[in-house]
Protein backbone atom coordinates (compact mmCIF):
# COMPACT_ATOMS: atom_id res chain seq x y z
CA UNK A 1 0.00 0.00 0.00
CA UNK A 2 2.71 2.42 1.02
CA UNK A 3 4.67 1.67 -2.11
CA UNK A 4 1.67 2.34 -4.29
CA UNK A 5 1.08 5.71 -2.73
CA UNK A 6 4.74 6.60 -3.04
CA UNK A 7 4.76 5.62 -6.68
CA UNK A 8 1.73 7.44 -7.93
CA UNK A 9 1.65 10.53 -5.78
CA UNK A 10 5.29 11.48 -5.73
CA UNK A 11 5.35 14.95 -7.24
CA UNK A 12 1.72 15.78 -6.81
CA UNK A 13 1.91 15.70 -3.06
CA UNK A 14 3.79 18.94 -2.49
CA UNK A 15 1.28 20.72 -4.69
CA UNK A 16 -1.57 19.11 -2.84
CA UNK A 17 -0.32 20.09 0.57
CA UNK A 18 -0.06 23.67 -0.62
CA UNK A 19 -3.48 23.58 -2.20
CA UNK A 20 -5.40 21.60 0.37
CA UNK A 21 -7.33 24.62 1.48
CA UNK A 22 -8.72 25.01 -2.03
CA UNK A 23 -10.27 21.58 -1.77
CA UNK A 24 -9.59 18.41 -3.70
CA UNK A 25 -10.71 14.81 -3.68
CA UNK A 26 -8.88 13.39 -0.67
CA UNK A 27 -6.75 10.31 -1.23
CA UNK A 28 -6.41 8.31 -4.38
CA UNK A 29 -9.11 8.14 -7.03
CA UNK A 30 -8.96 4.34 -7.09
CA UNK A 31 -9.96 4.25 -3.39
CA UNK A 32 -13.03 6.34 -4.19
CA UNK A 33 -13.88 3.90 -6.94
CA UNK A 34 -13.68 1.18 -4.31
CA UNK A 35 -15.71 3.09 -1.72
CA UNK A 36 -18.55 3.93 -4.10
CA UNK A 37 -18.70 0.42 -5.50
CA UNK A 38 -18.60 -1.10 -2.02
CA UNK A 39 -21.45 1.12 -0.89
CA UNK A 40 -23.44 0.04 -3.96
CA UNK A 41 -22.83 -3.63 -3.16
CA UNK A 42 -23.89 -3.16 0.45
CA UNK A 43 -26.83 -1.17 -0.90
CA UNK A 44 -27.97 -4.27 -2.78
CA UNK A 45 -27.67 -6.31 0.43
CA UNK A 46 -29.73 -3.73 2.28
CA UNK A 47 -32.45 -3.73 -0.37
CA UNK A 48 -32.53 -7.54 -0.26
CA UNK A 49 -32.75 -7.45 3.52
CA UNK A 50 -35.61 -4.95 3.44
CA UNK A 51 -37.49 -7.05 0.90
CA UNK A 52 -37.28 -10.23 2.98
CA UNK A 53 -38.00 -8.27 6.13
CA UNK A 54 -41.22 -7.07 4.51
CA UNK A 55 -42.13 -10.68 3.73
CA UNK A 56 -41.57 -11.96 7.30
CA UNK A 57 -42.14 -8.89 9.36
CA UNK A 58 -43.15 -10.65 12.60
CA UNK A 59 -40.28 -13.12 12.49
CA UNK A 60 -37.75 -10.34 11.89
CA UNK A 61 -39.14 -8.21 14.70
CA UNK A 62 -39.18 -11.08 17.19
CA UNK A 63 -35.62 -12.11 16.27
CA UNK A 64 -34.38 -8.55 16.35
CA UNK A 65 -35.59 -8.24 19.94
CA UNK A 66 -33.10 -10.93 20.92
CA UNK A 67 -30.06 -8.92 19.79
CA UNK A 68 -27.85 -7.12 22.28
CA UNK A 69 -28.58 -3.46 21.47
CA UNK A 70 -26.23 -2.26 24.23
CA UNK A 71 -23.13 -3.74 22.66
CA UNK A 72 -24.38 -2.56 19.27
CA UNK A 73 -24.64 0.99 20.61
CA UNK A 74 -21.23 0.78 22.32
CA UNK A 75 -19.73 -0.44 19.05
CA UNK A 76 -21.30 2.49 17.23
CA UNK A 77 -19.73 4.93 19.67
CA UNK A 78 -16.40 3.10 19.44
CA UNK A 79 -16.35 3.34 15.64
CA UNK A 80 -17.48 6.97 15.58
CA UNK A 81 -14.78 7.90 18.09
CA UNK A 82 -12.22 6.02 16.06
CA UNK A 83 -13.34 7.87 12.93
CA UNK A 84 -13.08 11.18 14.76
CA UNK A 85 -9.46 10.49 15.67
CA UNK A 86 -8.71 9.42 12.11
CA UNK A 87 -10.10 12.76 10.93
CA UNK A 88 -8.11 14.68 13.57
CA UNK A 89 -4.96 12.70 12.72
CA UNK A 90 -5.38 13.38 9.02
CA UNK A 91 -5.95 17.07 9.62
CA UNK A 92 -2.85 17.24 11.81
CA UNK A 93 -0.75 15.40 9.22
CA UNK A 94 -2.02 17.76 6.53
CA UNK A 95 -0.99 20.72 8.65
CA UNK A 96 2.47 19.18 8.87
CA UNK A 97 2.22 18.13 12.51
CA UNK A 98 3.26 14.49 12.08
CA UNK A 99 3.51 13.74 15.82
CA UNK A 100 -0.13 14.75 16.36
CA UNK A 101 -1.12 12.88 13.22
CA UNK A 102 0.57 9.75 14.48
CA UNK A 103 -1.08 10.09 17.89
CA UNK A 104 -4.50 10.44 16.25
CA UNK A 105 -4.01 7.26 14.23
CA UNK A 106 -2.76 5.30 17.26
CA UNK A 107 -5.87 6.23 19.25
CA UNK A 108 -8.08 5.48 16.23
CA UNK A 109 -6.39 2.08 15.91
CA UNK A 110 -6.99 1.30 19.58
CA UNK A 111 -10.72 2.14 19.29
CA UNK A 112 -10.95 0.28 16.00
CA UNK A 113 -9.35 -2.82 17.54
CA UNK A 114 -11.98 -2.78 20.30
CA UNK A 115 -14.70 -3.31 17.70
CA UNK A 116 -13.90 -6.96 16.80
CA UNK A 117 -13.38 -7.79 20.50
CA UNK A 118 -16.81 -6.39 21.38
CA UNK A 119 -18.26 -8.29 18.44
CA UNK A 120 -16.93 -11.52 19.95
CA UNK A 121 -18.43 -10.58 23.33
CA UNK A 122 -21.71 -10.10 21.47
CA UNK A 123 -21.60 -13.17 19.23
CA UNK A 124 -20.34 -15.86 21.59
CA UNK A 125 -23.31 -15.75 24.03
CA UNK A 126 -25.71 -15.50 21.10
CA UNK A 127 -24.27 -18.53 19.37
CA UNK A 128 -24.20 -20.49 22.64
CA UNK A 129 -27.87 -19.59 23.11
CA UNK A 130 -28.65 -21.26 19.78
CA UNK A 131 -29.03 -18.05 17.80
CA UNK A 132 -26.91 -19.36 14.92
CA UNK A 133 -27.16 -18.41 11.23
CA UNK A 134 -29.29 -21.52 10.70
CA UNK A 135 -31.90 -20.34 13.22
CA UNK A 136 -33.87 -18.24 10.74
CA UNK A 137 -33.48 -15.78 7.88
CA UNK A 138 -33.01 -12.80 10.16
CA UNK A 139 -30.05 -14.37 11.94
CA UNK A 140 -28.57 -15.47 8.62
CA UNK A 141 -28.71 -11.87 7.41
CA UNK A 142 -27.43 -10.65 10.76
CA UNK A 143 -24.33 -12.87 10.75
CA UNK A 144 -23.61 -12.52 7.03
CA UNK A 145 -23.89 -8.72 6.97
CA UNK A 146 -22.11 -8.03 10.25
CA UNK A 147 -19.55 -10.68 9.27
CA UNK A 148 -18.87 -8.96 5.95
CA UNK A 149 -18.58 -5.69 7.80
CA UNK A 150 -16.17 -7.28 10.26
CA UNK A 151 -13.96 -8.32 7.32
CA UNK A 152 -13.94 -4.67 6.27
CA UNK A 153 -13.01 -3.61 9.80
CA UNK A 154 -10.14 -6.12 9.83
CA UNK A 155 -8.84 -4.78 6.52
CA UNK A 156 -9.23 -1.22 7.86
CA UNK A 157 -7.10 -2.07 10.90
CA UNK A 158 -4.38 -3.43 8.60
CA UNK A 159 -4.54 -0.27 6.47
CA UNK A 160 -4.28 1.88 9.61
CA UNK A 161 -1.16 -0.04 10.66
CA UNK A 162 0.33 0.78 7.24
CA UNK A 163 -0.57 4.45 7.67
CA UNK A 164 1.07 4.49 11.11
CA UNK A 165 4.18 2.79 9.77
CA UNK A 166 4.31 5.31 6.96
CA UNK A 167 3.93 8.30 9.30
CA UNK A 168 6.61 6.85 11.58
CA UNK A 169 9.25 5.85 9.07
CA UNK A 170 8.91 8.30 6.22
CA UNK A 171 10.64 11.64 6.51
CA UNK A 172 8.21 13.26 4.06
CA UNK A 173 4.95 11.34 4.53
CA UNK A 174 2.57 11.27 1.58
CA UNK A 175 -0.64 12.94 2.66
CA UNK A 176 -2.55 11.26 -0.15
CA UNK A 177 -1.76 7.88 1.38
CA UNK A 178 -2.95 9.00 4.82
CA UNK A 179 -6.12 10.32 3.21
CA UNK A 180 -6.68 7.09 1.31
CA UNK A 181 -6.56 5.13 4.57
CA UNK A 182 -8.84 7.66 6.27
CA UNK A 183 -11.36 7.48 3.43
CA UNK A 184 -11.56 3.72 3.78
CA UNK A 185 -12.03 3.91 7.54
CA UNK A 186 -14.85 6.43 7.23
CA UNK A 187 -16.59 4.10 4.78
CA UNK A 188 -16.40 1.29 7.35
CA UNK A 189 -18.00 3.68 9.81
CA UNK A 190 -20.82 4.69 7.45
CA UNK A 191 -21.61 1.06 6.67
CA UNK A 192 -21.86 0.24 10.37
CA UNK A 193 -24.26 3.13 10.98
CA UNK A 194 -26.63 1.76 8.33
CA UNK A 195 -26.22 -1.81 9.60
CA UNK A 196 -26.87 -0.76 13.17
CA UNK A 197 -30.04 1.05 12.15
CA UNK A 198 -31.29 -1.78 9.94
CA UNK A 199 -30.47 -4.74 12.15
CA UNK A 200 -30.82 -3.42 15.69
CA UNK A 201 -33.07 -0.38 15.70
CA UNK A 202 -35.66 -0.51 12.91
CA UNK A 203 -39.11 -1.42 14.16
Amino acid sequence: MTDVAEGSAAGVDQLRRAAHTRGHVPGEASMWFFVIGDLLIFGVYFVGYMYFRGQNHQLFLASQARLNVDIGAINTVVLLTSSLFVALGTAAARAGNMAAGLRGFWIALAFGAAFPLLKMVEWIPEISAGLTPGKNLFFMYYYVMTGMHLCHVALGLVIMCFVIRHLKTSTTPKISFVETGATYWHMVDVLWLVLFALLYLMR
Partner: protein, 271 residues
Amino acid sequence: MSGSVAEAPKGPTAPANHATSWRTNRKLDQWIAFWSVPFFFNVFGLVFVPLSWMMPPRSPSSPTPHIVNFMHSHNLLIACLILTLAYGLAPVSNACYLIQVKRMSVSPAFRYSMMIGAITGAIVGMLFPMFCFGLGAFRPGYSAAVLTMLYDFGYLAFIGSLGCFCVMWMAFGLAIILDENNILPKWLGYYTIWQYVTELMAAPVWIAKSGPFAWNGLMTFWFAMALYVSWQFIVYVCIYKAIKNQPDGELDNAPPMPQPVALEVPSRTSA
Protein backbone atom coordinates in the same frame (compact mmCIF):
# COMPACT_ATOMS: atom_id res chain seq x y z
CA MET B 1 -20.45 -15.88 -21.44
CA SER B 2 -17.77 -13.91 -23.16
CA GLY B 3 -19.87 -13.07 -26.19
CA SER B 4 -18.88 -9.52 -27.00
CA VAL B 5 -15.17 -10.07 -26.76
CA ALA B 6 -15.23 -13.53 -28.20
CA GLU B 7 -15.47 -12.59 -31.85
CA ALA B 8 -13.22 -14.16 -34.43
CA PRO B 9 -9.60 -13.53 -33.51
CA LYS B 10 -8.68 -10.28 -35.20
CA GLY B 11 -5.02 -10.85 -36.04
CA PRO B 12 -3.12 -10.12 -32.88
CA THR B 13 -0.72 -7.23 -33.30
CA ALA B 14 1.98 -8.32 -35.66
CA PRO B 15 5.53 -7.18 -35.16
CA ALA B 16 6.95 -4.42 -37.29
CA ASN B 17 7.20 -6.41 -40.51
CA HIS B 18 3.52 -7.02 -41.00
CA ALA B 19 4.05 -9.29 -43.96
CA THR B 20 5.31 -12.08 -41.71
CA SER B 21 2.72 -14.68 -40.90
CA TRP B 22 0.89 -14.85 -37.60
CA ARG B 23 2.98 -17.88 -36.73
CA THR B 24 6.01 -15.73 -36.16
CA ASN B 25 4.12 -13.39 -33.82
CA ARG B 26 6.10 -13.50 -30.63
CA LYS B 27 2.98 -13.12 -28.53
CA LEU B 28 1.33 -16.07 -30.24
CA ASP B 29 1.52 -18.18 -27.07
CA GLN B 30 -0.22 -15.46 -25.09
CA TRP B 31 -2.90 -14.98 -27.71
CA ILE B 32 -3.65 -18.69 -27.81
CA ALA B 33 -4.00 -18.74 -24.03
CA PHE B 34 -6.11 -15.60 -24.27
CA TRP B 35 -8.57 -16.90 -26.85
CA SER B 36 -8.91 -20.17 -24.99
CA VAL B 37 -10.76 -18.18 -22.29
CA PRO B 38 -13.89 -17.33 -24.33
CA PHE B 39 -13.82 -20.77 -25.88
CA PHE B 40 -13.64 -22.41 -22.46
CA PHE B 41 -16.38 -20.24 -20.97
CA ASN B 42 -18.65 -20.74 -23.95
CA VAL B 43 -18.30 -24.50 -23.71
CA PHE B 44 -18.82 -24.26 -19.97
CA GLY B 45 -21.93 -22.12 -20.42
CA LEU B 46 -23.41 -24.29 -23.16
CA VAL B 47 -22.90 -27.47 -21.19
CA PHE B 48 -24.28 -26.12 -17.94
CA VAL B 49 -27.24 -24.20 -19.24
CA PRO B 50 -28.96 -25.42 -22.44
CA LEU B 51 -27.51 -28.92 -22.55
CA SER B 52 -27.93 -30.17 -19.01
CA TRP B 53 -29.91 -27.42 -17.22
CA MET B 54 -27.67 -27.87 -14.19
CA MET B 55 -27.64 -24.08 -14.13
CA PRO B 56 -29.39 -21.97 -12.99
CA PRO B 57 -29.21 -24.23 -9.97
CA ARG B 58 -32.23 -26.32 -9.08
CA SER B 59 -33.66 -25.90 -5.62
CA PRO B 60 -32.03 -27.72 -2.68
CA SER B 61 -35.54 -28.50 -1.45
CA SER B 62 -36.80 -30.09 -4.72
CA PRO B 63 -39.03 -33.14 -4.16
CA THR B 64 -37.20 -36.45 -4.53
CA PRO B 65 -38.97 -37.58 -7.77
CA HIS B 66 -37.79 -34.38 -9.48
CA ILE B 67 -34.25 -34.98 -8.32
CA VAL B 68 -34.32 -38.59 -9.54
CA ASN B 69 -35.68 -37.54 -12.93
CA PHE B 70 -33.03 -34.91 -13.33
CA MET B 71 -30.20 -37.20 -12.25
CA HIS B 72 -31.24 -39.83 -14.80
CA SER B 73 -31.10 -37.38 -17.71
CA HIS B 74 -28.76 -38.63 -20.42
CA ASN B 75 -27.75 -35.14 -21.28
CA LEU B 76 -25.84 -35.09 -18.01
CA LEU B 77 -23.65 -37.89 -19.30
CA ILE B 78 -22.92 -35.97 -22.52
CA ALA B 79 -22.26 -32.85 -20.45
CA CYS B 80 -19.73 -34.75 -18.34
CA LEU B 81 -17.98 -36.07 -21.42
CA ILE B 82 -17.59 -32.56 -22.87
CA LEU B 83 -16.44 -31.17 -19.53
CA THR B 84 -13.79 -33.88 -19.22
CA LEU B 85 -12.41 -32.87 -22.59
CA ALA B 86 -12.60 -29.14 -21.80
CA TYR B 87 -11.14 -29.47 -18.31
CA GLY B 88 -7.59 -29.30 -19.64
CA LEU B 89 -8.31 -25.83 -21.02
CA ALA B 90 -8.61 -24.40 -17.52
CA PRO B 91 -4.82 -24.33 -17.01
CA VAL B 92 -4.32 -22.83 -20.49
CA SER B 93 -6.84 -20.09 -19.76
CA ASN B 94 -5.15 -19.28 -16.48
CA ALA B 95 -1.81 -18.95 -18.22
CA CYS B 96 -2.84 -15.64 -19.80
CA TYR B 97 -3.48 -14.11 -16.36
CA LEU B 98 -0.33 -15.58 -14.88
CA ILE B 99 1.94 -14.26 -17.64
CA GLN B 100 0.71 -10.74 -16.91
CA VAL B 101 1.03 -11.19 -13.13
CA LYS B 102 4.62 -12.29 -13.71
CA ARG B 103 5.36 -8.83 -15.14
CA MET B 104 4.23 -7.14 -11.95
CA SER B 105 6.66 -5.84 -9.37
CA VAL B 106 5.26 -8.14 -6.69
CA SER B 107 6.51 -11.25 -4.94
CA PRO B 108 6.22 -14.49 -6.93
CA ALA B 109 4.18 -15.78 -3.98
CA PHE B 110 1.15 -14.06 -5.53
CA ARG B 111 1.66 -15.88 -8.81
CA TYR B 112 2.11 -19.26 -7.17
CA SER B 113 -0.96 -18.78 -4.97
CA MET B 114 -2.99 -18.00 -8.06
CA MET B 115 -1.62 -20.95 -9.97
CA ILE B 116 -2.31 -23.52 -7.28
CA GLY B 117 -5.58 -21.85 -6.26
CA ALA B 118 -6.90 -22.06 -9.81
CA ILE B 119 -6.12 -25.75 -10.05
CA THR B 120 -7.48 -26.77 -6.66
CA GLY B 121 -10.57 -24.65 -7.29
CA ALA B 122 -11.14 -26.22 -10.70
CA ILE B 123 -10.87 -29.74 -9.26
CA VAL B 124 -13.49 -29.10 -6.59
CA GLY B 125 -15.69 -26.77 -8.60
CA MET B 126 -15.62 -28.56 -11.93
CA LEU B 127 -14.48 -32.18 -11.60
CA PHE B 128 -16.43 -33.01 -8.43
CA PRO B 129 -19.83 -31.82 -9.74
CA MET B 130 -19.11 -33.49 -13.05
CA PHE B 131 -18.63 -36.89 -11.44
CA CYS B 132 -21.67 -36.42 -9.22
CA PHE B 133 -24.02 -35.46 -12.02
CA GLY B 134 -22.62 -38.06 -14.41
CA LEU B 135 -23.04 -41.02 -12.07
CA GLY B 136 -26.83 -41.02 -11.97
CA ALA B 137 -27.16 -41.35 -15.72
CA PHE B 138 -24.29 -43.81 -15.96
CA ARG B 139 -26.06 -46.55 -14.00
CA PRO B 140 -29.82 -46.05 -13.68
CA GLY B 141 -30.17 -48.51 -10.76
CA TYR B 142 -29.09 -46.18 -7.97
CA SER B 143 -31.63 -45.65 -5.22
CA ALA B 144 -33.38 -42.32 -4.75
CA ALA B 145 -31.41 -41.67 -1.54
CA VAL B 146 -28.08 -42.13 -3.31
CA LEU B 147 -29.16 -39.87 -6.17
CA THR B 148 -30.27 -37.17 -3.74
CA MET B 149 -26.89 -37.32 -2.04
CA LEU B 150 -25.09 -37.01 -5.38
CA TYR B 151 -27.34 -34.07 -6.26
CA ASP B 152 -26.47 -32.32 -3.00
CA PHE B 153 -22.81 -33.20 -3.38
CA GLY B 154 -22.74 -31.88 -6.95
CA TYR B 155 -24.33 -28.54 -6.18
CA LEU B 156 -22.45 -28.02 -2.92
CA ALA B 157 -19.18 -28.77 -4.71
CA PHE B 158 -20.06 -26.35 -7.50
CA ILE B 159 -21.43 -23.43 -5.48
CA GLY B 160 -20.25 -24.14 -1.95
CA SER B 161 -16.68 -24.40 -3.21
CA LEU B 162 -16.52 -20.81 -4.43
CA GLY B 163 -14.53 -20.02 -1.30
CA CYS B 164 -11.68 -22.06 -2.82
CA PHE B 165 -11.23 -19.34 -5.41
CA CYS B 166 -11.30 -16.64 -2.78
CA VAL B 167 -7.62 -16.66 -1.85
CA MET B 168 -6.62 -17.04 -5.46
CA TRP B 169 -8.48 -13.92 -6.57
CA MET B 170 -7.37 -12.15 -3.42
CA ALA B 171 -3.79 -12.75 -4.56
CA PHE B 172 -4.71 -11.42 -8.00
CA GLY B 173 -6.40 -8.29 -6.60
CA LEU B 174 -3.57 -7.53 -4.17
CA ALA B 175 -0.95 -8.08 -6.87
CA ILE B 176 -2.71 -5.49 -9.08
CA ILE B 177 -2.98 -2.98 -6.24
CA LEU B 178 0.61 -3.40 -5.03
CA ASP B 179 2.19 -3.57 -8.49
CA GLU B 180 4.32 -0.57 -9.38
CA ASN B 181 4.64 -1.42 -13.07
CA ASN B 182 0.95 -0.60 -13.62
CA ILE B 183 0.42 -3.71 -15.72
CA LEU B 184 -3.31 -3.70 -14.95
CA PRO B 185 -5.35 -0.69 -13.76
CA LYS B 186 -5.60 -0.19 -9.99
CA TRP B 187 -9.39 -0.03 -10.02
CA LEU B 188 -9.43 -3.54 -11.42
CA GLY B 189 -7.65 -4.63 -8.24
CA TYR B 190 -10.45 -3.15 -6.15
CA TYR B 191 -13.08 -4.68 -8.41
CA THR B 192 -11.37 -8.02 -7.85
CA ILE B 193 -11.70 -7.49 -4.11
CA TRP B 194 -15.49 -7.15 -4.40
CA GLN B 195 -15.54 -10.19 -6.59
CA TYR B 196 -13.75 -12.41 -4.09
CA VAL B 197 -15.62 -11.02 -1.11
CA THR B 198 -18.92 -12.00 -2.75
CA GLU B 199 -17.50 -15.48 -3.19
CA LEU B 200 -17.31 -15.68 0.60
CA MET B 201 -21.06 -15.26 0.51
CA ALA B 202 -21.26 -18.83 -0.77
CA ALA B 203 -20.57 -20.12 2.75
CA PRO B 204 -24.24 -20.00 3.89
CA VAL B 205 -25.27 -22.52 1.19
CA TRP B 206 -24.05 -25.14 3.65
CA ILE B 207 -26.72 -24.01 6.11
CA ALA B 208 -29.77 -22.67 4.25
CA LYS B 209 -31.98 -24.98 2.19
CA SER B 210 -34.30 -22.29 0.89
CA GLY B 211 -34.52 -18.53 0.63
CA PRO B 212 -31.89 -16.00 -0.46
CA PHE B 213 -28.97 -17.90 1.10
CA ALA B 214 -29.68 -21.33 -0.39
CA TRP B 215 -27.46 -22.46 -3.26
CA ASN B 216 -30.00 -21.15 -5.77
CA GLY B 217 -30.63 -18.02 -3.69
CA LEU B 218 -30.67 -14.37 -4.60
CA MET B 219 -27.67 -13.47 -2.43
CA THR B 220 -25.50 -16.53 -2.78
CA PHE B 221 -26.03 -17.29 -6.45
CA TRP B 222 -27.63 -14.51 -8.47
CA PHE B 223 -25.89 -11.56 -6.94
CA ALA B 224 -22.51 -13.30 -6.84
CA MET B 225 -22.99 -14.33 -10.49
CA ALA B 226 -23.92 -10.82 -11.62
CA LEU B 227 -20.76 -9.48 -10.04
CA TYR B 228 -18.63 -12.36 -11.26
CA VAL B 229 -19.75 -12.33 -14.90
CA SER B 230 -19.28 -8.58 -15.28
CA TRP B 231 -15.90 -8.87 -13.56
CA GLN B 232 -14.85 -11.68 -15.88
CA PHE B 233 -15.67 -9.55 -18.95
CA ILE B 234 -13.82 -6.53 -17.61
CA VAL B 235 -10.76 -8.45 -16.47
CA TYR B 236 -10.67 -10.04 -19.89
CA VAL B 237 -10.65 -6.69 -21.70
CA CYS B 238 -7.92 -5.45 -19.35
CA ILE B 239 -5.79 -8.53 -19.99
CA TYR B 240 -6.26 -7.97 -23.73
CA LYS B 241 -4.92 -4.45 -23.39
CA ALA B 242 -2.06 -5.60 -21.17
CA ILE B 243 -0.94 -8.20 -23.72
CA LYS B 244 -1.24 -5.67 -26.51
CA ASN B 245 0.79 -3.06 -24.66
CA GLN B 246 3.49 -5.45 -23.53
CA PRO B 247 6.76 -4.36 -25.17
CA ASP B 248 8.45 -7.10 -27.19
CA GLY B 249 11.60 -6.71 -25.16
CA GLU B 250 9.75 -7.87 -22.07
CA LEU B 251 8.62 -11.15 -23.54
CA ASP B 252 9.90 -14.24 -21.80
CA ASN B 253 10.04 -16.27 -24.98
CA ALA B 254 12.65 -14.08 -26.61
CA PRO B 255 14.13 -15.77 -29.67
CA PRO B 256 17.64 -17.11 -29.30
CA MET B 257 20.05 -14.21 -29.59
CA PRO B 258 22.53 -14.35 -32.46
CA GLN B 259 25.50 -15.96 -30.82
CA PRO B 260 28.75 -13.99 -31.14
CA VAL B 261 30.81 -17.16 -31.04
CA ALA B 262 29.89 -19.63 -33.74
CA LEU B 263 28.97 -22.47 -31.46
CA GLU B 264 26.69 -25.07 -32.90
CA VAL B 265 23.77 -24.80 -30.53
CA PRO B 266 20.75 -26.86 -31.49
CA SER B 267 17.92 -24.37 -32.05
CA ARG B 268 15.24 -24.45 -29.40
CA THR B 269 11.86 -24.75 -30.95
CA SER B 270 9.65 -24.59 -27.92
CA ALA B 271 9.62 -21.97 -25.24
